[in-house]
Amino acid sequence: MPAPGATPAPAALVPARWFDGRSSQARAVLVGLHPAPGGPSLSVHPVAAPGGEALHLPWREVGWPEAWSARRPQQRVVVDLHAHGSLEIDAVAAWHSALAAAGDRPRLAQRMQTRWGIFLAMLLAGVLGLALFYRYGTPWLATQLARWVPLGWETALADQGLAQMDDGMLKPSQLPRARQEALRARFQGLTQAMATVPALQRYPGYAPQWSLQFRRGMGANAFALPGGTVVLTDEIVQVAARQGLGDEALAGVLAHEIGHVAYRHTTRMLVQQGVLQMGLELALGDVSGLLASGSALLTAMSYSRAHEREADCFALGLMRRAALPTAPMGDLLLAMAQDARSGGKDRQPGKATEPGQDEAHPVWSLLSSHPDTAGRARALRAGQAPGCS
């Protein structure tokens, strides 16, 4: 044991076995760790030749083993010297204290591994960051990526989708031709009005092939296909007539669907789904597949709610531009909701339901892709919705 006051060694020496990669034979060595700017450097001194040439390696040329536990040191650690073989160290505690003394800064993964405080801090930061990313990051990314999707792809997708639905539940419309043409004229007026307002165009230069189609057989509804096709059902026209609502109500619905097309919601949703699915599979695949697909579903729902809100805002803007009231559309929404709930059997003509009657059911609002109908109707009646820019 060196006497106190003797000249201090340049670094603490740790006994080790050195395997040089040429045979499985070990050489007894002493390992020194020296503070250096980039990280500690390492020197290997063979015990058999004390004065002989020592091997010096800078921080970058050594594979430093990770410490896995603060309380329970590993039985034996191996240091990777790459081309120079490897070092086997029994004095693990001495090795770690020598590393710390030489100014080693462990990586983030090791700090999280050995200290709960840092792990919890990272967990919190991670949850927060992810929530922000899923809330704002992926929608933004999808909006940007959608610019690169050609119109031809959208129309092909729409044709395919409509053909499938025609084979399934949809039937040809029974509306009189004159009625159809009147609504088409309204539709055309709206798309032309939209073209004059730059503020309503999220994708400048995006020129969808607008067309309005009529179908029957899926209840009171309207939907937009990517690329410019909007479909109205006979039932929604009938509900509007039964409630005594004018064509302004249907125009509002059309404006809403035009908004879906202009903002390319279907395309954005598909892109988002792809990005998210991939990210979630990578991130959560190791934990459980159920969790991954569950979170993908939940985020998709929250996005589509955001899309509905966006389309409502678009409708408000467009209707204001066309000098049309939006209140009838709000009444129509409530009537549609009631019609759907009573299974379409409620044939009694009557006044529009009071919005207070149709307050949100929390479960329905969470599971439905549409925001609560009463809230939307109120916003449309007032002519402005919160959250519209």
């Binding site: 499985s24 191996v78 990777d80 934990v287």
Partner: protein, 415 residues
Amino acid sequence: MPRPAPPGAARMHASFASQDIEPHPLRFTGSGAEFLRVWIVNVLLTIVTLGFYTPWARRRTAQYFFGHTLVAGSPLEFTAQQRRMVVGFLVVVLLTLAYKLAASTGQDVAVGLFILAGAALAPLIWSSAMRFRLGNTRWRGLRLQFTADWREVYRASWPVFALALVWLAVFFGLQALAPAPLEGAGAGRKLPQVGAPMVALVLLGLVLTVLCLIRIDFNYRSLLVLRASLGTEPGRWKPVYMDFVRLWLATVGVFLVSILVLSLLLAGLVGGSFAMVKALGQGQSGMGMVLFLIAAFVALLLVLFLATAPARAYREAALFRLTWNNIGVSRIARFKCDLRVGRYVLLRLRNMLLTLVTLGLFRPFAVVSEYRMKLESVTLHIKGGVDQVAGTLARQQTGGIGDALADAAGLELIV
């Protein structure tokens, strides 16, 4: 100071010393709780980085297991370069993206090309992954190596082509055997008549298929050991094809027994639930019936999962024991394995249930306990001491892409 030993032990020791063979049980010094932290840190960082931490996570996991595996007192080392693993991972991500894009936009030609190329390159990818894994495993400063070249790998894949031939033969055989007067048979008969020879032909095809699949498994495993080397010492491989066939038959037996046990259990359950359905039916029908059907569906899935689990665990354990009882390193080392297959199957079933119940959080404990049971069943017998192996100047192995592809295909790094 030497301890006094019983005379029998002394004689045994002496007889070992004369042949100079020392037994070294393999040991695993890690723990489930510790690996839970490794895993949870990996999961968190992977989620935060949207998946791009994956190659780092894989390396940490491998280093944890290798570093805690003691072979004759010396830990194994996982020396893969992080950079290569990252490049491999990125290539696989891009390939997957391209494939998904092609599949979701309905470009059937591109999808077909992807699948064909994947099938044609599969042997190459496998050998590249094995070269990566063995080449990055180091023990006492010596690298393992996998030295098979691509010709050997494709030659070992002959059963794939045999499989294709078998089914071609079955197809044409069926056409030849099909009864000719099909048109004249009239409208009364809906299906073509299936004769005993046709059934026999299809059965023969199935048997040959199974034999071919076993042969592929055998060929690849034996190639892996025979073309592996530690320093200058090549691997040794003793099992024969019939061992694998017997093991497969035993697996089928285990599967049948577990089906039998499960169906006996189910018979009891179904009897009980019929009574319940009746009770529900007398009350209000709608909701209770739907709930019952959902429960029955979930139960059916669980049963299917349970029915195959013992057979899969059995096959894994029996194959492990067969392999590690019959391989060695040239003349200097051989392995003995006393894994108890029944205990392993029970361990696997327990782990599966606990993993299911904890929504996956038990997985690190499951992985550690299974790895430990398998590893610690192996004893290494070394003739002439551990210091004698000479190394070859093997370069750092490349091929991170093959490894990443193998990972994507579900070949685990920790086996």
